[in-house]
């Protein structure tokens, strides 16, 4: 039995859309993915529609308002689906977990899959409003984000769950993009999350207010320190620092 077969996405409710945009926000650089995911879930009042069940995940639950939650969950509201995790994905689980998510996503006929992440940026404290970079898997995917006028990532190395999302989506003929906000690498960065949420709002032509996120930025920075530390450890195991290197073959 392969590791992938040991991972199951259990649906607890039907999706409200038959052609959704699927966002993936996981703990990564500056916790941009998880912080933006949490804000979107709260502000859009998204409902949990599925969770990931696997013996390979850490034996833990998250308790919110007295309710039991699995670490990796899927939310939905209208045409928007959001996959998020409250634990950093362990290195050995990255590929099988992402393959399972993409296989599940394919059954939902997605319009676009988009990852919400950060790009480690030296002197981040000098930057007032972080810029968002993008990377598309195909011309079709690029067409979806053309109107956003984002800088394209032309050269470099990506490490972690998001490059696996792009590659697996590409192999499955699903249009996918990575959104990457300039961010602190090793500190939670709610400012970078706010920038990426604005791009998501423009992509979906919906108004997503980030005032509350900006206002509670310091509180988020305090309360996500432990998750950031664990994520940092996982990123180091994956060789995340290679993202600052120049690839050996370049055009």
């Amino acid at each position: 039995m392969s590791l992938e077969e040991k991972i199951e996405i259990k649906e607890v409710a039907s999706l409200e859309s038959d052609n959704p945009t699927i966002l993936i926000g996981l703990p990564d650089v500056g916790l941009v993915g998880i912080v933006s995911a949490m804000h979107l879930i709260n502000i859009l009042e998204m409902k949990e529609v599925a969770y990931v069940e696997s013996d390979l995940l850490p034996p833990m639950i998250f308790i919110h308002n007295g309710r039991i939650n699995d670490p990796v969950r899927v939310y939905n509201k209208g045409d928007l689906v959001l996959v998020t995790s409250e634990v950093p994905v362990p290195i050995g689980l990255v590929k099988p977990l992402i393959r399972s998510i993409i296989r599940w996503a394919k059954t939902k006929n997605p319009k676009l899959i988009a990852t919400l992440g950060g790009i480690p940026t030296p002197n981040r404290e000098e930057i007032e409003k972080p810029e968002i970079y993008s990377l598309s898997t195909s011309e079709e995917a690029q067409k979806h984000i053309e109107k956003l006028n984002l800088q394209k990532l032309m050269e470099g190395i990506m490490v972690g769950p998001y490059p696996v999302v792009l590659r697996e989506a590409q192999k499955n003929d699903l249009p996918a993009v990575a959104f990457l906000a300039q961010a602190f690498s090793r500190y939670p960065d709610p400012g970078a999350a706010a920038s990426i949420i604005e791009v998501v709002g423009d992509l979906l032509s919906i108004d997503v207010n980030v005032d509350e996120l900006v206002k509670s930025a310091e509180e988020i920075r305090v309360k996500t320190r432990d998750l950031m530390r664990r994520t940092d450890r996982t990123m180091q195991q994956m060789g995340k620092t290679q993202e600052l290197e120049v690839p050996a073959m370049y055009s």
Partner: protein, 151 residues
């Protein structure tokens, strides 16, 4: 002459191994400290901030994330033998309503962090900058330079 060179060579090797041991010790201490407890001291109501240490050829750069710290006057940096200790008072109490499994309400007023330095530094040239809640401390490395003639 050759005896003297041999002696200095073994001394250098000893120093190198000692430095390696010191680095390994620090690494293991960090690993165990990291995963043995959360980033807070509930007894003393002190939070541990996230910190990053980088090295360039000439400097050690320590940065510390200090949310809720508004003024540079509220930050104290102490230089110790082989480490630095940073203390910072928050502008208002940071309150956790139901903390962890004890579900206790607890307030924190201060960040405190001791950072072990990877190498000897020159305390005379240390500078610090606090910008947008991030403290950056620049510590010049103590280097002994000897010019070698190429033959």
């Amino acid at each position: 002459m050759s005896e003297k060179r041999k002696h200095s060579y073994w001394e250098e090797l000893d120093e190198m191994f000692e430095e390696m041991h010191r680095r390994f010790d620090r690494m293991f201490e960090d690993v165990f400290r990291d995963f043995s407890r959360p980033l807070m001291d509930m007894q003393q109501c002190v939070l541990e901030p996230l910190a990053d240490i980088r090295e360039t050829a000439t400097d050690v750069i320590v940065t510390i994330d200090l949310p809720f710290v508004d003024k540079k006057e509220d930050i104290s940096i102490e230089l110790l033998e082989g480490s630095i200790e940073i203390t910072a008072k928050t502008s208002k109490p940071i309150c956790f309503e139901r903390l962890g499994t004890t579900q206790r309400k607890i307030r924190f007023n201060e960040f405190r962090k001791k950072v072990k330095l990877p190498t000897d530094v020159d305390f005379e040239g240390v500078t610090a900058m606090f910008k947008k809640g991030v403290l950056a401390i620049n510590l010049p490395k103590k280097v002994q330079r000897t010019r070698i003639k190429v033959e």
